[in-house]
């Protein structure tokens, strides 16, 4: 027995097994169940175990599916671009312009203040702000910028993306800030000594070295946006759809098998997207 425990292989297996068991039960099993249910048949009030491709057939046969997936990618891409630009700038400012650690920490905490309230509340507070008679429109009108209320501020793709950017920028700031803080400052000095200007240092030194942070932030933002449904529902006034809403509508109407099939397709899509993203940067090497 003692010999067995001394065997490195066995201890290794033992150490990994608690996590493996947790993941197996709470991640792998549910996904397997979803896969199974996606082949079932649904009637009004019951779901019948079966093996048929009907749910997938309907999913891939409907032009709406493609528009909705396209829409989901559109939201993910635009949100990613905005959060990256804002997140990178904020992180850059915090990491390279603020010199004292105390201030860095203080300002970083300031960024997290909005996160003390719930997601939903932060999202919903945009509604009175952006509405037809909301603060934004009345202010703009009193300044004489516009004559009539701007309609596309609320219940539009603009509103959806605005809310996404507001909600998820911090997920971009944190990992980028983290990698930036670990850049050896002497590299920047060396670049400067070698005659590089600010833009060249940014492009050739800082960005390549912050890639892992950018990638981690990207994965956060992309998966969060692609899996979201409530932001899209509220900010578009139920008028736009992404895949999450398709699933939630199906669930609301008791169409679990159809919802499962959509979920599986979404899962595959997100995994493929992340797979492609990871091709660009080897996160493990950089961590």
């Amino acid at each position: 027995m003692k010999k067995l425990l001394e065997n490195r292989n066995v201890t290794g297996w033992l150490m990994v097994s608690p996590l493996a068991a947790v993941l197996l039960f709470f991640l792998v099993m549910p996904i397997i169940l979803i896969v199974i249910v996606s082949f079932w048949r649904a009637t009004e009030f019951s779901i019948i175990p079966a093996f048929e491709w009907d749910n997938y057939e309907f999913l891939f046969g409907s032009p709406v599916t493609y528009t909705v997936f396209l829409n989901t990618f559109k939201y993910a891409f635009v949100t990613w671009l905005c959060t990256l630009l804002i997140g990178f700038t904020v992180a850059y400012y915090l990491a390279f312009h603020i010199r004292s650690l105390t201030w860095q920490i203080a300002l970083f905490l300031l960024c997290t203040i909005p996160f003390w309230t719930s997601n939903i509340i932060r999202m919903i507070s945009w509604i009175p702000f952006l509405g037809r008679n909301g603060i934004a429109n009345t202010t703009l009108m009193s300044w004489g910028v516009i004559d009539a209320p701007v309609e596309w501020l609320l219940f539009s793709d603009f509103a959806v993306i605005l809310a996404f950017v507001h909600l998820y920028t911090l997920f971009m700031v944190v990992p980028i800030f983290n990698t930036m803080m670990r850049i050896d400052r002497s590299l920047i000095e060396a670049a400067r000594d070698a005659g590089a200007n600010g833009a060249q240092i940014l492009w050739n030194v800082i960005i390549p070295l912050t890639k892992p942070g950018i990638m981690i932030g990207t994965i956060f933002v992309v998966t969060l946006v692609m899996g979201d449904f409530i932001t899209v529902r509220f900010m578009s006034g139920s008028q736009s759809a992404n895949v999450g809403r398709l699933i939630s509508n199906d669930i609301a109407l008791l169409q679990y098998p159809s919802a499962s099939a959509t979920a599986i397709v979404l899962l595959a899509t997100v995994l493929i997207t992340i797979g492609i993203l990871l091709r660009f940067v080897d996160i493990r090497k950089e961590l």
Binding site: E44, F45, S62, V64, N133, G237, S238, R245, N249
Partner: protein, 428 residues
């Protein structure tokens, strides 16, 4: 629980202490039984869920006061209510659901039939819920009329029967005739037809509810009013009719007719009160809520008539013993008038109008039920002013409103197809 413990105690003591103590102990049980009952009922908690319309905290408070037990309320949107009734029978004791939901979930066997002989006011329940006839000469509207899904064959029935069998699926509590809500101040002209919902004049200022089984009926009313098509039965469309109806609305959506869709009652209130929307499908208390914010809002009667709905209380199949008794007691209390009066003052109709009348002033009864001009201020149950002296209820009396019902919220044979198409409409 207390009761069980006492019994256990008795047998143990009887074994240990002999005849004398047995007699005493036995004496306490028989004599003590009603007391235990009175104590126990206070410990009972009935979990009720339903849509926001009738899940009111005031009702829970009054139950505690009048009956002594606790009623826990959960308000959900219509789809979530259906979902829970069909899939989570152990999560509720009382289901406060609509008749069309009942049609969907009854066959799942999660609810139990109720013995009408235990319902004290059964004979006073409005005809709509029993024979289906408002008055002996009325015709039955299209769709899932409550009486068609109101009765089952026996205590364990999972079917529906068309006659008064003595076993009810739901005990009716509430119903109303729905129409479009408008902001008269922002529209500035009379609105008389359902077709106005798609009038380009209101582009970007209209809304419809995103609950398929109700929304499709509103759509059908609009399509008929536009003269596009006359349905043989709006409550049971064919696939072609569903395609046609949703096609018209998808086009309107793509043209930007709608500002938003709403799913829960409070969303419709916000849309209307903020002026985002000036015409939309709406429910009666939502109008009340908008008005009580001081914003003018009319529940506009339309030439084509009303879309109606009815709701009632059902009991979970899991309920038995003392809790089942408490549930019956609660339902009997519900029909005894206080809640009815409360609901009537919000603009609904009580399924037992006679008892509700006792809990309303003559002026309130005249205004809400008989369609008479108000004598003084008409207040909502929460005390805000809804109408002043001389004002008349939108749509008039009970008979005028319920008499003009042309369809009921319903579940179609092609429901699954409709649901998928509805999903596409929302995503389009």
């Amino acid at each position: 629980m207390t009761k069980l413990d006492t019994k256990k105690g008795i047998s143990r003591r009887a074994m240990l202490k002999g005849a004398a103590s047995t007699a005493i102990a036995a004496g306490t049980t028989t004599l003590g039984a009603p007391m235990i009952w009175a104590q126990n009922i206070k410990d009972i908690t009935l979990r009720q869920f339903g849509t926001g319309v009738s899940n009111l905290n005031d009702v829970a408070d009054k139950v505690k006061e009048d009956l002594g037990f606790t009623l826990e309320m959960t308000a959900l949107d219509t789809d979530s209510v259906t979902q829970r009734a069909a899939t989570q029978p152990n999560s509720f004791d009382i289901a406060d659901i609509e008749y069309f939901i009942c049609k969907k979930v009854w066959a799942a066997g999660n609810m139990q039939a109720m013995d009408t002989s235990k319902i004290a006011n059964y004979d006073k329940i409005a005809g709509t819920f029993r024979s289906g006839l408002l008055t002996p000469e009325s015709t039955i509207a299209q769709g899932t009329a409550p009486h068609t899904v109101g009765f089952t064959s026996g205590p364990n029935g999972t079917d529906f029967v068309q006659e008064e069998s003595g076993w009810m699926t739901l005990i009716p509590t509430i119903y109303n005739a729905d129409t479009l809500g408008i902001r008269p101040d922002l529209i500035g002209r009379p609105i008389n037809n359902w077709s106005e919902l798609l009038n380009p004049e209101f582009k970007g200022k209209a809304s419809i509810l995103d609950i398929s089984s109700i929304g499709i009926m509103d759509m059908a009313m609009v399509v008929e009013s536009m003269g596009e098509y006359t349905y043989p039965d709006k409550g049971n469309m064919t696939k072609e009719e569903i395609d046609l109806t949703l096609g018209i609305f998808t086009e309107a959506k793509k043209n930007g007719q709608f500002r938003a869709f709403w799913k829960s009652f409070d969303e419709s209130v916000n849309l209307m009160a903020s002026g985002e929307v000036v015409i939309q499908s709406m429910w009666s208390p939502a109008i009340t809520a908008v008005k009580s914010q001081g914003v003018p809002c009319v529940y506009q009667p339309l030439e084509e008539g009303y879309r109606s709905w009815g709701g009632g209380l059902g009991i979970s199949a899991a309920l038995s013993g003392l809790e089942l008794e408490a549930a019956y007691e609660y339902i009997n209390w519900y029909l005894s008038g206080w809640v009815g009066g409360y609901l009537m003052r919000q603009g609904y109709y009580s399924a037992v109008p006679e008892t509700s009348k006792e809990f309303m002033t003559a002026d309130e009864w005249g205004f809400w039920y008989e369609g008479k001009a108000a004598q003084g201020d008409i207040l909502s149950p929460t005390g805000s002013k809804l109408a002043g002296a001389g004002e008349v209820r939108d749509g008039g009396s009970f008979n005028d409103r319920m008499g003009s019902v042309v369809c009921w919220n319903s579940v179609m044979d092609e429901n699954q197809y409709m649901v998928r198409k509805w999903n596409e409409f929302i995503a389009a």
